[in-house]
C-alpha cells in the first residue's frame, strides 16, 4: 500500500513541476538577445539642417525611415540628400537605400547612387554615377571604392573609386584606372 502511495505522491509532484514550467515559446518572442529592435518609423521624412548663419545647408528626404534602438541606426528608403552652399551650385545625391549612423556623422548609400551638381558660370552641370557611397555630412566629403562615371556635357571620365570634397572650390579625386573623353571643339 505504501509503495502505491509513494508512487501517487511522485506522480503529483511530477505533474506539478511540469505544469509550472514557463512556456519555452514565450521566451523567444519577448526578448532575443542581440536582435536590433525597431523602436519607431516615419513616412515622408524631411530633415533640414541650417548653418550658424541660419542658412539652409543640408536636406535629407526619404520615403520611409526606420530607427533601431540597439544600434541607433536609421535605415532610409530612396534617400535624397541635398547640399547647399552660398554662391555655389547645389549638389543633389539620390540612392536606392541609405543608413544614417547613430551620431549622424556617416550616411551610407547603397545600390545605384547618383550625384548631380547644377551648372554655374564657370562650370557645366555634372553628373556622377556610382554605388555604395559613404557621405560624411559634417565634412561635406564623400567616397566610394566602386566604379564611377562622370558626365559633363559631351565629356566623360570613368574610374574605379572616388573621393569628393563638395565644399567650394569642389575637388574630386579618381584614384585608379582613370579614362576620359573630351570633345575638343
Amino acid at each position: 500500500m505504501r509503495t502505491w502511495l509513494l508512487l501517487l505522491l511522485l506522480g503529483v509532484l511530477g505533474f506539478t513541476w511540469w505544469a509550472s514550467r514557463p512556456e519555452p515559446s514565450a521566451i523567444s518572442t519577448t526578448q532575443t538577445p542581440g536582435k536590433d529592435v525597431q523602436d519607431y518609423s516615419l513616412n515622408g521624412l524631411a530633415l533640414r539642417q541650417f548653418d550658424i548663419q541660419g542658412q539652409l545647408s543640408h536636406r535629407l528626404l526619404a520615403e520611409d525611415m526606420q530607427h533601431y534602438r540597439g544600434s541607433g541606426l536609421t535605415r532610409i528608403q530612396t534617400p535624397e540628400y541635398i547640399l547647399y552652399e552660398q554662391g555655389s551650385p547645389v549638389w543633389t545625391v539620390n540612392a536606392a537605400r541609405g543608413e544614417l549612423s547613430s551620431d549622424q556623422t556617416l550616411l551610407k548609400l547603397f545600390g545605384k547612387t547618383t550625384l548631380e551638381r547644377e551648372a554655374d558660370d564657370m562650370h557645366p552641370a555634372m553628373r556622377l554615377e556610382t554605388a555604395d557611397l559613404r557621405i560624411y555630412p559634417h565634412k561635406e566629403y564623400a567616397e566610394t571604392d566602386e566604379p564611377v562615371t562622370v558626365t559633363s556635357e559631351q565629356n566623360w571620365i570613368k574610374s574605379t573609386g572616388m573621393q569628393a570634397w563638395f565644399k567650394s572650390p569642389t575637388r574630386i579625386l579618381f584614384p585608379a584606372q582613370a579614362r576620359a573623353h573630351y570633345v575638343a571643339q
Partner: protein
C-alpha cells in the same frame, strides 16, 4: 592629320583629379592621350579649361613624348621634352627641356621648339632661359 584637331581627346591614366579652385583636371601615372593621329605619353598631364572646353594640355615627363602624322602619306613627326604644352585650338605644340623634334631622318634639338601641327612647321631656339642653341641634322635626300 588636318582632321586631328576636331577629333575627341581620349585619355588613360592611373588617376585623375578635378580641381575646382584652378579649373583644371590633372591626370597622373602612365598618362596616354590620343586625338586623331596624335599620341602623347607623359607622367603627368594638366588640362586647363577655358569656360567649359579643354583648352591647354601641359604634359611633363622624363621625357614627355608625342608623335603625329602630318599627312596620310608622310612619315611620323615625333617629339619629346621635359614639358610639352599642347594648345588644343591653336594646333601649336611647345616642347621645352632637352627638346627634340624628328621627321623622317631629320632632327632638331633645342631647349625650346615650337611646332605648328597644321603647317608642319617648327621654330627652334629662343628658349625660356634665353639660350639660342639649336642643333639641326638634315639628311640630304638620295638623288636617283
Amino acid at each position: 592629320l588636318p582632321s586631328d584637331k576636331d577629333a575627341p581627346v581620349e585619355i588613360e591614366a592611373d588617376s585623375a583629379d578635378i580641381d575646382g579652385a584652378t579649373n583644371t583636371t590633372t591626370y597622373r601615372g602612365k598618362v596616354r592621350i590620343s586625338q586623331g593621329s596624335m599620341e602623347l605619353k607623359a607622367d603627368k598631364v594638366v588640362i586647363t579649361f577655358k569656360g567649359r572646353k579643354p583648352h591647354i594640355l601641359t604634359a611633363t615627363g622624363t621625357p614627355a613624348k608625342f608623335r603625329q602624322k602630318p599627312e596620310q602619306d608622310k612619315g611620323w613627326v615625333t617629339g619629346q621634352g621635359r614639358t610639352i604644352v599642347y594648345r588644343i585650338n591653336s594646333e601649336e605644340l611647345v616642347l621645352t627641356g632637352n627638346a627634340v623634334l624628328t621627321q623622317n631622318d631629320d632632327s632638331f634639338r633645342s631647349d625650346r621648339i615650337v611646332y605648328d601641327r597644321v603647317k608642319a612647321r617648327l621654330k627652334a631656339g629662343a628658349a625660356a632661359q634665353g639660350s639660342e642653341r639649336v642643333k639641326v641634322i638634315i639628311h640630304p635626300q638620295d638623288t636617283p
